[in-house]
Symmetry: C2
Subunit: 132 residues, 2 copies
Amino acid sequence: MDYKMKIKKIAFLLLMTLITYGTVSAQTKNPLVRIAKLQIDPAQLDAYRAALKEHAETAVRVEPGVLTLYAVAEKDNPANITVFEIYADSAAYQAHLQTVHFKKYKSTTKDMVKSLQLVETDPIVLAAKQKL
Amino acid sequence: MDYKMKIKKIAFLLLMTLITYGTVSAQTKNPLVRIAKLQIDPAQLDAYRAALKEHAETAVRVEPGVLTLYAVAEKDNPANITVFEIYADSAAYQAHLQTVHFKKYKSTTKDMVKSLQLVETDPIVLAAKQKL
């Protein structure tokens, strides 16, 4: 009887583990992956970079569905900025648009951004080691 | 005496941990971050995607200095592919070019790639949760 209870307990824990694992996998099964291409006013580049950095770090830290925000400047033209964005799914992206930090970023930078192009993508492979 | 030995052992382990941590941090202090933009022959797109996927997964798995290879296709033009690449440093990238899997990828895909543009970048922020 005692053994049977133990087996039942182990089976229950295994089942819960599988369910939990399935849920976590589902969150990243259909990630929304996008590339944002921006041209920034060169005179305001330092301020823009600071606002972008603060926004990206906050979003990845506090929002469960914001998985990756990698922002880089072209070496040959630092006013050309690319952001590689991964959200858990489109609901996570919609939630992101409603956050206080996103709205603050948009209002702070609205006169710094000369152009913004959003390129929707389908991921082919997302291979990465642990967090940098 | 026994206690002194234990304290020495703990101090030694702490020191090694700090040294290791310092080294790991140094590896990603000056990451080489690059964007590759490719146009693929539409007739060979499936074969190209398979070769790219295999190459990226292998490189990130076996090479300590290949940190991220994210490849995506534009939804509006799937033959336009962007790869967001992060290497620990330029030495890691040079080592990558010499690997068997990279050479295999290059030879397999040489007639599939219509154009390749490499954009060198300076990272502004690389914010990410744990591995997807």
